[in-house]
């Protein structure tokens, strides 16, 4: 279970400040390459993100997001190619519909939708990836640990 192991380890702790654990599900062709570019271009960003690479956003099942929360993620990033740029032509269009439904479902169930960032980051947008990561971390840090979800197990009557 790669999604599980990716975020299993302890959060990076720094002096007193809450360091959220973020799982990122990204497509191989655009965002992963973009993130790689961010690295090689020495874009500074925070180290809280564990990345899971998938062939396409079309492969990103919303079950992955739920599993990430189950295994202790405080936030999730889902990212792939811009519309029109999908390596498989239309994977991201299908994904976009699912993500839209999932976002509304989360909200309806009372899960703060700010815990999940959906983004399009192309292979050349290393800078944007850095921004997406930093914004997500800051936003989730402000929200605090996702205790609501983490305590579901023990709250079972």
């Amino acid at each position: 279970m790669s999604t599980a192991t990716a975020i299993e380890n302890k959060s990076p702790a720094s002096a007193g400040r809450f360091e959220p654990r973020i799982a990122a599900f990204v497509c191989n062709w655009c965002t992963y390459t973009g993130a790689d570019l961010a690295g090689t271009s020495r874009v500074q960003m925070m180290p809280n993100v564990r990345m899971v690479r998938l062939p396409c956003t079309g492969r990103i099942d919303t079950a992955f997001i739920i599993k990430a929360f189950e295994r202790g993620a405080d936030g999730v990033i889902v990212s792939g190619c811009h519309p029109g740029d999908c390596h498989y032509s239309e994977g991201n269009y299908h994904a976009r519909r699912r993500f839209a439904m999932f976002k509304e479902l989360m909200n309806f169930m009372g899960i703060d939708e700010r815990r999940v960032t959906f983004s399009w980051v192309s292979a050349s947008e290393g800078r944007k990836w850095g921004d997406v990561v930093d914004e997500t971390i800051e936003r989730v840090r402000a929200l605090g640990p996702f205790d609501d979800y983490k305590t579901l197990l023990e709250e079972t009557p």
Binding site: E70, R97, K103, G110, T156
Partner: protein, 291 residues
């Protein structure tokens, strides 16, 4: 009633079909699904406001015992026909493999066991926004279509109440109702649109959905069920009717129906040629939530 029986008798006698799936008197005051395989058995068939079950459920390929009875004719209400259209749309049933008997329905009871007559207070919620017309899928129409006149669905009022709450309040609400869930999977098994030969929830390598009925497993199950039924669910509400724990599942299915309708302009349809919203997309689908 006679018209229905006569038709069923004929379809069975001339071997057009092997089984007529309809309704018969059950034990006590209720009716139940009926599987008439001979002209004589067609005499059992009834149809009235107690006939709540969505018989399209029995056409799902998972029902091997029903399939073994031969080509089916199925008695459908207008709402059930949408589920049948869904099965055809998603290649689970071939249109030519089923004979559709559309019955005029003036609404069904929310609780047939109550023994009460159909009224504004007693009608099933889904009948409230039904136009009462015969389905265009009908091979045979029985009875004169009439539009039921009931108030707007109560589920919408409850949805509005939920929407007015804060997110933490909604989370607390779902926690409390999901705490009653024992993961018996009844909601799945009775659903006409849960046709997968092997449900994702039954897959164990990896175990995407924990099978244990603790809150964590229950949230995963109900969220993923909602996702998998979004754009498929026709709102027949068999899941909620059958749920042994009384979980208000229609809140979730109705919400997803609204999302799909508002975002993608899709409403449950009895036309199998209308593409499923999750099997299609538009280049300009709204993406205001994507950075």
């Amino acid at each position: 009633m006679n018209e229905l029986r006569q038709l069923a008798r004929k379809l069975l006698a001339d071997k057009t079909v092997g089984v007529v799936i309809g309704y018969e008197e059950g034990q006590g005051a209720v009716t139940r699904p009926s599987f008439a395989t001979s002209p004589e058995q067609a005499e059992k068939l009834v149809f009235d406001a107690r006939c709540v079950q969505n018989l399209a459920s029995y056409l799902s390929p998972r029902r091997s015992t029903v399939r073994s009875l031969g080509k089916p004719a199925v008695v459908v209400k207008a709402c059930d026909a949408k589920a049948l259209a869904g099965l055809i749309r998603e290649a689970q049933v071939k249109r030519e493999d089923v004979v559709v008997i559309s019955v005029a329905c003036g609404g069904v009871l929310a609780d047939p066991r109550s023994g009460k007559a159909l009224s504004e207070a007693m009608v099933a919620d889904r009948c409230r926004d039904c136009d009462g017309a015969h389905t265009s899928l009908a091979d045979h129409k029985v009875g004169q279509a009439k539009a039921p006149a009931f108030g707007s669905p109560k589920v919408d009022a409850r949805l509005a109440e939920l929407q007015a709450m804060t997110a933490p309040q909604r989370f607390a609400f779902f926690k409390s109702v999901f705490s009653e869930c024992t993961r018996c999977n009844v909601c799945r098994e009775v659903c006409p649109m849960c046709f997968c030969a092997r449900c994702m929830a039954d897959k164990s390598e990896p175990q995407w959905i924990e099978s244990s009925p603790h809150l964590r497993g229950n949230f995963a199950w109900h969220m993923l069920r909602a996702m998998h039924l979004a754009g498929r669910c026709v709102g027949c509400n068999e899941c909620e009717r059958a749920c042994p724990a009384g979980i208000p599942l229609s809140l979730i299915t109705r919400k997803m129906q609204k999302v799909v309708s508002e975002r993608f302009g899709y409403s449950p349809s009895d036309d199998p040629n209308v593409p499923a919203p999750t099997g299609a997309f538009r280049l300009d689908d709204a993406q205001e939530f994507i950075r």
